[in-house]
C-alpha cells in the first residue's frame, strides 16, 4: 500500500489530507500521479512538487516501494 499525503491548497481541493493507493510492482511516481489525476483533476493540476518518503522527488519514472509515503504538493508559500 502507498500512503498518499495532501497539504494546503491540494488538501482543500481533494477534501482529504491522506489517502492510500494499491501497490503494484513497477508502480512509478508518474503512474501514481496519473491515477490520482483521474480522481482529483483540479487538485492534481496544483501539484507541481512531489516528495517520496519526505525527500523531494522530480523523476516521474521513479519506481515506488511498497509502504512508501508520497506527497503531492502545490508550490510552497512559507516564510
Amino acid at each position: 500500500m502507498i500512503k498518499v499525503l495532501f497539504f494546503g491548497p491540494i488538501a482543500a481541493a481533494t477534501g482529504e489530507r491522506e489517502t492510500s493507493a494499491a501497490f503494484q510492482p513497477g508502480l512509478t511516481l508518474g503512474g501514481l500521479r496519473d491515477t490520482l489525476a483521474a480522481q482529483h483533476p483540479e487538485a492534481m493540476r496544483l501539484a507541481t512538487m512531489m516528495a517520496v518518503n519526505g525527500e523531494h522527488a522530480r523523476d516521474m519514472t521513479l519506481q515506488l516501494a511498497d509502504n512508501s509515503e508520497v506527497a503531492f504538493m502545490a508550490k510552497f508559500s512559507g516564510g
Binding site: 497539504f7 510552497f76 516564510g79
Partner: protein
Amino acid sequence: MKEAVRIQTEDFSQDEEIDALKGSSKRMGGIGTFLGCARDFSEGRDVEEISFDAYGSMALSEMQKLRSDAIEKYGLLDARIVHRIGTVRGGDNIVFIAAGAEHRVAALEACRWMIDELKQRVPIWKKEITPQGDSWVTPHP
C-alpha cells in the same frame, strides 16, 4: 537551550534566538537576521488572519538541511531558523532567520540566501483569511 531549527505554533523571541546564536562562538563578528511578519493587507484586500499548513516532518528536515547548507556554503559559525505554523494576525511574527559569521558580508548574504531557499524548499503553505473569503497564497518571487 532551544533547538536551532524549529517549527512551532507559539511566538518566538528574537532576543533569545540572537543570544543563543552569540553563545555558540565568541569569534562571531557579524549577525544577519531576517524577520518575516504577517501583513494585514494583500492584493488589495484586508487580511484578518493568515493560516499555515505544513508537511511537518519534511519541513523540519528541509530546514535542518538548509541550515547545514548555509553554514557550509558561507562558512558560518552558526545559524538559526524558526518558522511558525497555525494561525497568525497582522503584525505577528512568522519566520526568523539568523546567520552568524566572523564578518558581516557572509552573515548578510547567508541570511538572504536562507530565506530565499526556504521559500523554494520547505513545504509550508499560507492561506489568507479575508472578509471576502479565504485564499491560498500564490508565491511571490
